[in-house]
């Protein structure tokens, strides 16, 4: 045996175990590589861990972040009471209105069941209201239409946005005068939390819907029936709901009142046009 063969033999004896070990390691690495490469295989392994972590996280949120979130919300609500109430106002208004409307509808249905024809319904209306039956029939046929809508800052009477079908005198001045009239009437009767709701003149009615920081004035021509009032209120609530949503976004955009970007007049007027422009009441 030559010297070289002897060395080879010795190496075989000494490193056989190491080679086996290295082979096993290589096999393990291959399995890991395959697992990582194949998404499904990786998911099988990782998903239960993530799922467990998420479960723990969800479980921990109320304990760890709950007090902080509650404190922050409380503070925000305390600081911005008016805006929060303003945002809730249309939602509550809608709920109450819908509830009342439903109750009235049920009552009306009950009455209708007893009075089989429209003729009787008109007679009934006529008896109750003291209005001639012919006039009741006419009022059923007549239509009303929205001429102008103004969104007005409640205290100052400053116009925030407007929609108008026809050209009128300066809308800033109308807003100011409406606010003055509203303020005078509400002040004169000394009833707190009571609002002037309607101004009538000849063929026009001005419906005033008050909220906390703003009020909406809608000028209606034609017969302003209860049904029309109901539709106008729905339109106002829908519009104000959107507006307050945008207002809240702006409110929480910055802690600094000065830095908060106000909802733009252009976008408000687009919204007014969209809501009231083609509305049928």
């Amino acid at each position: 045996m030559v010297e070289r063969d002897k060395v080879e033999l010795l190496r075989d004896i000494l490193f056989t175990e190491d080679r086996e070990f290295a082979k096993k390691i290589a096999e393990r690495i291959k399995i890991i590589e395959d697992t990582i490469d194949e998404r499904e295989k990786l998911s099988e392994k990782v998903n239960p861990i993530i799922s467990k972590q998420l479960d723990d996280f969800v479980e921990e949120i109320p304990k760890k972040l709950g007090p902080t979130i509650t404190a922050t919300l409380k503070e925000e609500i305390r600081k911005n009471k008016e805006e929060i109430v303003d945002a809730l106002y249309p939602i509550l208004g809608k709920m109450i209105k819908k509830y009342i409307a439903q109750e009235i509808k049920m009552l009306s249905d009950n009455i209708s069941k007893q009075l089989s024809t429209k003729k009787w319904s008109n007679k009934f209306k006529s008896w109750f209201s003291g209005v001639k039956e012919e006039e009741v029939i006419l009022s059923n046929l007549s239509v009303s239409s929205i001429e102008q809508v103004l969104l007005i800052e409640r205290g100052s009477g400053i116009l925030a946005a407007s929609y108008s079908k026809t050209e009128t005198i300066d809308e800033d001045m109308i807003s100011g005068m409406l606010t003055a009239i509203k303020g005078f009437v509400e002040d004169a009767f000394g009833q707190k939390n009571q609002n002037l709701e309607l101004i009538e003149y000849e063929l026009y009615n001005i419906h005033l819907q008050s909220f906390v920081s703003y009020y909406v004035a809608v000028v209606i021509s034609g017969n302003y029936s209860l049904e029309a009032k109901d539709k106008v209120q729905d339109l106002i609530f829908d519009f104000y709901d959107d507006f307050m949503g945008k207002n809240l976004d702006s409110l929480f955009s910055s802690d600094d009142k000065e830095k908060r970007e106000k909802v733009s007049r252009v976008s408000l007027e687009k919204q007014l046009n969209k809501k009231f422009g083609n509305a049928i009441i």
Binding site: E153, R154, G155, S156, G157, I158, L159, D170, D172, M173, G176, M177, A180, K182, G183, F184, E186, D187, S264, R265, V266
Partner: protein, 162 residues
């Protein structure tokens, strides 16, 4: 978007509140005195620079000898106040400081200008002595009749509340 601000003009009867506003808005004057009832609202757009304007919504409140009786509803959301008195009638400025205290209590932190009107009817140097002796401080002395410092007064207030 054009900025809008509410300015309330108040003071005793016949001091020239409506005339001041008419001079500022329409650049006109009338000797016919008509008592204002309730409130009258007018608007004037002022231009500070090109494309930098402001709408002043001017609330002309009816005159009253007792400032306390001014309806709070008319003062809500006010951005600036002009308190007018008549320099020819001491009864309109004898209680000026206590009148101003009432206004300031109703409108805290709101910029307030004290304006002595009808200055064209008096000798200014005598008036200044009278004011000095009676601890009366004014921001402007105006004349709705001649137009003296009327526009300047409203523009100064507009700049202040901008």
């Amino acid at each position: 978007m054009q900025l809008s601000k509410k300015i309330v003009v108040l003071g005793h009867f016949g001091v020239g509140k409506t005339s001041l506003i008419r001079r500022f808005v329409e650049n006109s004057f009338s000797d016919n005195y008509k008592v204002s009832i309730g409130v009258h609202i007018t608007k004037k757009v002022v231009e500070f620079e090109v494309e930098d304007t402001m709408s002043l919504i001017l609330w002309d409140l009816e005159g009253t000898d007792d400032i306390k009786t001014i309806r709070d509803a008319y003062l809500l959301g006010t951005h600036g106040v002009v308190f007018v008195f008549d320099v020819t009638r001491p009864s309109t400025f004898q209680l000026l400081n206590s009148d101003l205290d009432i206004v300031k209590a109703k409108l805290p932190k709101t910029p307030l200008f004290v304006v002595g009107n009808k200055v064209d009817l008096v000798v200014v140097s005598e008036l200044e002595t009278l004011f000095k002796n009676n601890n009366i401080k004014t921001n402007f002395l105006t004349s709705a009749k001649t137009g003296e410092t009327v526009e300047q007064m409203f523009l100064e207030l507009a700049k202040l509340i901008k």
